[in-house]
Amino acid sequence: MISNRESARRSRTRKQKQLGDLINEVTVLKNDNAKITEQVDVATRKYVEMESRNDVLRAQASELTERLRSLNSVLEMVEEISGQALDIPEINPWQVSCPMQPIRASADMFDC
């Protein structure tokens, strides 16, 4: 039978250990949280940068579309006038009535 003193001593050490564990856990969690916050910041910056590049590309794409539209209108006029069928490139080939393939965006889409 464990004496009362022994049991008391054990309880004390156990309590102290628990307290130490709690403090350690707090420290570890704080460090982890700081690290993750940093990662989130990095990821956010990358995302923002990519988005800005996307915006630039979108502007380019719209400019090109506009140009193509004007050219096509010219060609259509010519076609009307001349009566000859011209090869007028479509502006939005991805908006077709009967799509051959469903549009699926994937990271390795253009890797042939």
Partner: protein, 394 residues
């Protein structure tokens, strides 16, 4: 000399002798200590049995004792503050306060009774006043005496009884000579040399107990705070992880969109070039000069898609000749003349290469109904192949 007699030896005669004293003051003193002892014994009995009702009464009694004493208590002002604080907290604290009060008041009572400073009128009044607060205070608290504090109370009772023993001695000694104050003082000095020490000791012990309690409570609060902090941090951790994965997904989506946009731009550029080629061919005018985009056109003036013309042959040109008169962009017609003549001006420019590439592209595009790399499902006009020969034939 006080320690010679054990508590048991004195308890019975102590209880039984309500005062074999002559003077009123002695009677009052003994009566007072008798009532105190009576309450203490009730507490002791309740400690052993622990029924709710008894302990309630005892606590009432304690309250009564402490409130009835007109003597200065150890904690003094602190008691009121503690009371108000403890009433707000749980009843455990309040019980502790009551016990503290009891202890301090008992110690103080010991002091007072020894000194005989309790006036007769006060002491006669006190037994009655002892009971009145007891009746009024049942509403203030109604808590059990816990085993943990039972030990404290028993030790306190033992202590008080010990102090009561010498007190009895002193009073019994002084009762005979009570009229003589000097003798009383002498008695107090010889036997009362312990009095201030004892009082100091008991007060010190009480304050130590209190400080121990405070530090235990503080430690408990710290542990509680740490646990709360841990939980908070865990929540923060999980939400941050979600944020991170969210942001990574957004980035991935943006990257994919980026690639798509780049591909779109490439195809658009190709188409624009196609269209420009066609316009140039068809109208004989620089398509860049048509419309608004005149910024970077001047270098294109000499780029004539003559390689394309070479494929078609000169026979295709004449049908479009009338168009040469169209002056859409306000161009001087002199530019057209080289075209009409169908002179072959080899221009080692990228355009020609691109054109040939485009020439190749168009037919191939029409052959591929569903190119695997083309997610847009380009449908090139099936007239492509037919128009070419048609044009050539004409």
């Amino acid at each position: 000399m006080n320690s010679i007699f054990s508590i048991d030896d004195f308890s019975d005669p102590f209880w039984e002798s309500s005062p074999p004293l002559d003077s009123d003051s002695a009677k009052a003193v003994a009566a007072e200590e008798w009532t105190v002892e009576m309450f203490l014994e009730e507490i002791a009995s309740s400690v052993s049995s622990e029924p709710v009702g008894n302990s309630n009464n005892n606590n009432n009694a304690i309250v009564g004792v402490s409130s009835a004493q007109s003597l200065p208590s150890v904690s003094g002002q602190n008691d009121f503050e503690e009371d108000s604080r403890f009433l707000r907290r749980d009843s455990d604290d309040y019980r502790r306060v009551l016990k503290n009060k009891l202890e301090t008041e008992c110690a103080a009572t010991v002091v007072a009774l020894r000194a005989g400073s309790v006036k007769p009128e006060d002491s006669t009044g006190s037994p009655e006043t002892l009971f009145q607060p007891a009746l009024s205070s049942p509403l203030t608290q109604g808590s059990l005496v816990t085993p943990g504090e039972v030990g404290v109370t028993s030790s306190l009772l033992a202590e008080v009884k010990k102090t009561g023993v010498p007190m009895k001695q002193v009073t019994s000694g002084s009762s005979r000579d009570y009229s003589d104050d000097d003798d009383l003082d002498e008695e107090n000095e010889t036997t009362g040399s312990l009095k201030p020490e004892d009082v100091k000791k008991s007060r010190r012990m009480l304050s130590n107990r209190e400080s121990a309690r405070r530090s235990r409570r503080r430690k408990q609060e710290q542990t509680c705070d740490l646990e709360t902090q841990v939980n908070e941090l865990k929540g923060e951790h999980s939400s941050l992880l979600k944020q991170l994965s969210n942001m990574n997904h957004k980035y991935d989506d943006a990257a994919v969109g980026n690639r798509i946009l780049k591909a779109d731009i490439e195809t658009l550029r190709a188409k624009v070039k196609m269209a420009e080629e066609t316009v140039k061919r068809v109208t004989g005018m620089n398509p860049m000069l048509l419309g608004r985009s005149n910024g970077h056109n001047n270098n294109n003036n000499n780029r004539m898609p003559l390689t394309g013309n070479s494929r078609m042959g000169s026979s295709c040109i004449p049908p479009f000749q009338p168009l040469s008169n169209l002056n859409m962009g306000g161009l001087p017609t002199t530019i057209l003349s080289p075209r009409l003549e169908n002179s072959f001006i080899p221009t080692p420019s990228l355009i020609s290469q691109t054109n040939s590439h485009l020439q190749r592209i168009r037919p191939t595009q029409s052959h591929h109904a569903a190119p695997s790399t083309n997610p847009y499902g380009w449908t090139t006009e099936t007239q492509n192949d037919s128009t070419w020969p048609k044009k050539c034939v004409d």
